[in-house]
Every structure is written in structure tokens, then in C-alpha cells.
């Protein structure tokens, strides 16, 4: 199995960057971690950024097309080639989910173009956040597939590399001199040891498995949502940081005769999300809309698409203005009968 020293990662990524943009978790001078291009600061290998590569594959604000004054329509999906480095398994699994969403009933040209031009290099997780629950969902801390390359931080200064696709393989071949070799058996043992050590680090204070089971069987008490709705301030942040949230709203505007259609991130908590043209809202109560969000992710996605609509990344709690999110849902779901 291939192994790369930490000091060789930047040269490797720079060489990959000769014909494409290279994005990674970057720690800036203020201590904030953002998914940025590698020339903007030092790569952080230990933490995952607040917003995953979602912002790149499915931007907060995206122009879909323009209608010129003569009626010509100009649509330009983004064809930039990119390397997305340092993605956690939860985020890589979320890409599998969004791939499904954006291709199931229709092929979304904008997402598809960004997606097929992206090389995914994942970084297996060795230090979960207190709100992570990928271990329960089987979406982490390591992946068996769904990556082009996966790095394992088996020692302080070096990473083992698993190859998941041909594109991944060529990304290694281009800079062959930067890699060393570790015998497969030894490498496997190191990876297993790392995995075992990581699994021990997950918080055990909440029974996510039980919460998920209850949700799948539709046995969540309505009181859970009532309580949740009291604590939620409707900032929309949970959907914006969620790597599997795919909902968007579309708006149009006219400027100097040119009509532009854009799409932007949306949150199903908002009243306007479910309100119908007549003014009727099937989810009029806030608690009903909250129920919809959790049911969609935990009840209907498993039923309809055989995937849980949550990959256990824990961001919806950490970056929630009142610190609730999936963590609080699971806590309420398992305690309120």
C-alpha cells in the first residue's frame, strides 16, 4: 500500500493543481477552518470544516441561466476541474446521497458538471466531534468505497493511501516519486488499529441507534417536535451546514432587460417552504415542519432510497444557534415517550 509523508502532501497537491483547483480544509489566521484553495493557507488535517465541500458542488447561490433581450438563453454549468482534498467519510457519504438526489428523477446539469470534474480525496477520521454519530450509521469514521483516494493518518507524519478509482490511481502515478510503499498486511493492520482506536473516541451519552430505530418505525412522539420547536430559533443554519440537505429555492430577477434565474439554499423549517400558492400550508405549525425535516431524513429516505438522509457529521448541533440539531432530536426522541 502507498504511503505519503506529511511534508510531501503539499508538493503532491500542488502538482495536481497544475491543471485544476485544489481545495482543502484551511486554517486561517483567525483560527477559523474553511474549505478553501490550498494557496490560501495551511491545510488542517485534524478537524473538519464547518461547511463541507457542499459549497463547491452545490453552492449557496448559483446562477442557472440568463435570458438575453433577444430571447437567447445562456446557461453555463461550471466545468472547472477540482481536487477536493481532506473530505471526511461523512461528507463523502453525503456526496453519494446528493448524487442520488440530483440524478434520480432528472439529471441536474449544474450539479453533474461540478461533480464529474471533482476528484475526491478523503481523509479518514481519527478525532470525532462530541456530536458525531457516523459510527452508528456506518458512514464513518472510514470508508470502504465512494472515494477516489482515501488517506489514513496511521502515524504522526505519514498517511497510508487506499485507491478507490482509476482517477485516483492516476493522481498517484503522476507524482510517483513522492510515495513510499508499505507491505499490504502491515498496512491493513495499522489501519485496523487506527479504526479501533477512533471508534473508542465517540461520545456514548446518546443512544442514536435507538433514535434511528424509533424514527424508521415512525414511533417518535409528537411531543418531541413540540419541544424541539420551542428551542429552535429558525436561523436555517442546520440545513446550510448539513452535507445531505439538497433543497433549494429558485428566484428570478431582471436587470437591464436580462432575466437571470438563480437558485439558493433553502431550509424546510421555513413556512414558505411548504406553503402552497393558495395560501394553504399543510405544515402550518412550526413543530410539523420540524417533524417533516427529521422524518424526511430518518424515516422516508431509508424507506424510499435505502439511505439514511443523515451521515452523522454532527454539524447541525455544533453550528446551531441554540445547539440543538440531530443531537437534541435523538436525546428527545429517546426520552419523551
Amino acid at each position: 500500500m502507498k504511503l505519503i509523508r506529511k511534508q510531501n502532501i503539499l508538493p503532491w497537491l500542488q502538482s495536481l493543481g497544475q491543471d485544476r483547483e485544489v481545495w482543502a480544509p484551511i486554517l486561517n489566521g483567525n483560527g477559523d477552518l474553511l474549505f478553501q484553495q490550498i494557496h490560501e493557507g495551511p491545510i488542517c488535517y485534524d478537524l473538519k470544516p464547518m461547511i463541507s465541500c457542499r459549497r463547491i458542488l452545490f453552492p449557496q447561490e448559483e446562477k442557472l441561466f440568463e435570458v438575453q433581450t433577444d430571447g437567447t438563453i445562456i446557461a453555463k454549468p461550471d466545468t472547472t476541474k477540482r481536487v477536493l482534498f481532506g473530505i471526511r467519510s461523512c461528507d463523502a457519504k453525503a456526496i453519494v446521497f446528493t448524487d442520488m438526489f440530483f440524478s434520480k428523477n432528472f439529471q441536474d446539469a449544474y450539479y453533474e458538471s461540478r461533480r464529474k470534474n471533482a476528484l475526491l480525496i478523503t481523509l479518514s477520521c481519527h478525532d470525532p466531534m462530541p456530536t458525531c454519530w457516523c459510527n452508528t450509521l456506518g458512514t464513518g469514521p472510514f470508508l470502504d468505497k465512494d472515494f477516489d483516494l482515501q488517506l489514513y493518518p496511521v502515524q504522526e507524519d505519514a498517511f497510508l493511501i487506499a485507491i478507490g478509482s482509476d482517477a485516483g490511481k492516476s493522481a498517484l502515478e503522476a507524482s510517483a516519486s513522492l510515495f513510499e510503499e508499505m507491505p499490504d498486511l502491515q498496512a491493513k493492520a495499522r489501519i485496523e488499529a487506527l479504526k479501533d482506536a477512533t471508534l473508542l473516541k465517540f461520545a456514548k451519552n446518546i443512544d442514536f441507534a435507538q433514535a434511528l430505530e424509533l424514527a424508521k418505525e415512525r414511533k417518535i412522539s409528537p411531543k418531541v417536535y413540540d419541544k424541539y420547536s420551542e428551542e429552535c430559533l429558525a436561523c436555517g443554519g442546520c440545513a446550510f451546514v448539513c452535507p445531505t440537505c439538497t433543497c433549494f429555492d429558485v428566484r428570478e430577477f431582471t436587470e437591464t432587460g436580462i432575466i437571470t434565474r438563480c437558485r439558493q439554499w433553502e431550509n424546510c423549517f421555513f413556512e414558505g417552504f411548504t406553503k402552497e400558492a393558495s395560501g394553504h400550508n399543510p405544515r402550518r405549525r412550526f413543530a410539523d415542519r420540524i417533524a417533516r425535516r427529521f422524518e424526511h431524513k430518518l424515516t422516508f429516505e431509508p424507506k424510499n432510497n435505502h439511505m439514511v438522509g443523515c451521515t452523522g457529521c454532527g454539524r447541525c448541533t455544533i453550528y446551531c444557534i441554540t445547539k440543538i440539531g440531530m443531537h437534541r432530536f435523538a436525546e428527545l426522541a429517546t426520552t419523551i415517550k
Binding site: N30, G31, D32, L33, L34, Q36, Q37, E40, M50, I51, R55, I56, P59, Q60, E61, E62, L233, A234, C235, G236, G237, F240, F253, T254, E255, Q264, I318, Y319, C320, I321
Partner: protein, 133 residues
């Protein structure tokens, strides 16, 4: 795409967030995790603070009222007109017949120069803003 750390333009909490830009257009907002107020969070207004900047109705050029309607003017013309009219009014009446409303929306530096314009240039303390409103 590049990112710039700035301060939210809405309430007095003063959250810190990053504006994401692409080809001189704002394309999104990410709250600063380390900022002591925002702590990785924002309210719904903050999360969408970038959008209004590019709204087609933005005022894009100076205007002067002529025969009852506002018409487009160059900066030179608009500033010359404004300065001349202000001088005329100061000369015809008193400096105190002029008032200045500064703003709780603009920067400290801009408030300072507005205050300096009123007090230092017009020798006039008729300056206030909507703190009360």
C-alpha cells in the same frame, strides 16, 4: 472563489462572518467559528446578508431632481450641485438652517467624517441619527 472576514450589517450583535465571492459577486456567507459573538452561528438574516447587495434596484449613479423628476447625473455634476446649493443656503440664511442625519448603518469612519463635515466645515452641531428610532 475567495473569502473575506467581515461584520454583519444587521442588528447590534455584530456577528463575524466570511463573505464568499466569485468574479466580483457575493455567492454566500459562512459564520466565523472563533468569533466571540457568532461562534459558528448566525440568524436567518445573517445567513442571507449577501443577497441584497446585488439586488437590481441598487442606486447605481447620482441623480438630481429637475422639473420634478430625478434624472441621472455624473458624480462631478451631483457633487458640484450639492456643494453649491449648500453654500447658497448657508450664505442666504445661517449655517444652522442646515441639518445632518448621519447613520447607524455606515462605518465608524464614515460617521466620523460626517460629524467633521457638520462641525468642522459647517460649524454646526445639528447632527443626529436614528439612535432613538
Amino acid at each position: 472563489m475567495s473569502t473575506v472576514l467581515t461584520t454583519c450589517p444587521y442588528c447590534g450583535c455584530g456577528c463575524g462572518f466570511y463573505l464568499h465571492t466569485e468574479h466580483n459577486k457575493l455567492v454566500g456567507v459562512t459564520p466565523s467559528q472563533e468569533h466571540p459573538v457568532s461562534r459558528g452561528t448566525l440568524c436567518v438574516k445573517g445567513w442571507n446578508a449577501h443577497e441584497m447587495v446585488h439586488h437590481p434596484e441598487r442606486l447605481k449613479y447620482p441623480m438630481i431632481r429637475e422639473n420634478g423628476v430625478l434624472r441621472r447625473a455624473s458624480w462631478e455634476e451631483a457633487l458640484d450641485f450639492t456643494a453649491r446649493k449648500l453654500q447658497e443656503i448657508r450664505d442666504k440664511y445661517t449655517t444652522e438652517s442646515i441639518g445632518f442625519f448621519t447613520s447607524a448603518k455606515v462605518t465608524n469612519e464614515e460617521n466620523y467624517v460626517m460629524m467633521k463635515l457638520a462641525r468642522g466645515v459647517f460649524l454646526n452641531s445639528n447632527i443626529d441619527h436614528c439612535a432613538r428610532l
